[in-house]
Symmetry: C2
Subunit: 258 residues, 2 copies
Amino acid sequence: MTSKQLDSIVIFGDSITQGGWEPGGFAQKLAYVYARRLDVVNRGLSGYNTEWGLPVFEQIVAKTSEQPHVPTMRLLTIWFGANDACLQQSPQYVSLDRFKANLTRMVTMLRDEKSEWYHPPERTKILFISPPPIDADARAADLASRNPPLAPDRTWDNTKAYADAVKEVGKELSVPVADAWTAIWDAAGHKAENLKQFLPDGLHLNAASYSLVYDLILEAIAQNWPELHYSKLPFVFAPWNEVEWEGDPRPSLQARHN
Amino acid sequence: MTSKQLDSIVIFGDSITQGGWEPGGFAQKLAYVYARRLDVVNRGLSGYNTEWGLPVFEQIVAKTSEQPHVPTMRLLTIWFGANDACLQQSPQYVSLDRFKANLTRMVTMLRDEKSEWYHPPERTKILFISPPPIDADARAADLASRNPPLAPDRTWDNTKAYADAVKEVGKELSVPVADAWTAIWDAAGHKAENLKQFLPDGLHLNAASYSLVYDLILEAIAQNWPELHYSKLPFVFAPWNEVEWEGDPRPSLQARHN
């Protein structure tokens, strides 16, 4: 089947992106408002860090030779750091420098005109999302409850450093950042004990925190690429009350590129 | 961007399909369980009947010449009738015979080996979904509350006739049917006054009724095409604990067709 008539929003990241399909998740909320305008393609990979994400990214992003055949990626969100920020004991750990280099590589893959994955910036927008804060106590309790029990694997300070790194790289590369870390930390009143309202297991988001991130994404779209806001994109196939029902309806039912 | 690594489930129909992206909607629930296995592509068109759906169907379904370039449609759900069943005063009305002919045409487009839209049955499965019962009183009240007020446009008997027609055509063409009409009517204890628990405005589904339909779809998959059940489909990109992190991770990160 081809969905070439509809372009796409691709959301790429770890379990926090994969979980975006939960009720109230940011993928579900985006898919709902962008229905008939842009398809939401979820490329969230639970447990992945940027080191493992890169080889997948090279496969899911169309090369210039493939681009004529596939839907245009109008917006790409890149949301990593929650796993890269694990302590060094974990195979998921990626050093801060390597994390920044991997994020930079993902962007240059699309932005370098000589790249085989080149996507013209006027056609494909890129948005970073910073990893959420960690509720280290809740996460440690969750890990301790596993069988066999697992040692704590993340700290608040460390995850903050990776969130700050996303903002640094975004600034260097002029990639807007939806700052999930700050939005959730602010909503928690800068109190770790309040994080459980937004991160039930200390690490993953719920409808309340996904809603904050969804709002950040729509604000970033409205500020940077207002033409991509769902309210500005017409339906690709006509609203039913615009269908020509007295004569031949076919001309009024042709896909209209938005 | 290409999502060729992931095949798709395409859901095609009217507003009841378009609304599947609501929290608890059948699209959201399918996307959640099929994450990393199959993409859910929502081609629901609010207000459409089969007469207007057909010319759109011809555009969204890949022709044989396009199929090598696009993700394979592994499952297609066709869910129409709620609008076709309008009374004749409405431009949305489609006669029962024409409704059956249009559903038949959608199937033969894919199944006729001489069709330019031919999809081999071993590769693409088709599932009909019957339209839900109508709560005519609630619908009439909703229409009367509009500005300007609108006259009643649907009856319980008429919608039942279109639901029965879906089952007839399914039987004729050997296309399985997820019988939403019966599931919702049974859940309402065969009492129109109980339908409001499942059809808040008399016509559209809520999380309770979408959940019934989601269960019917998974049952139909398990019975007819067990290999397509999400529990039988491996992740296209490896679970993180299967990633080779000591040596070169790339070989373990290649897309695996499922």
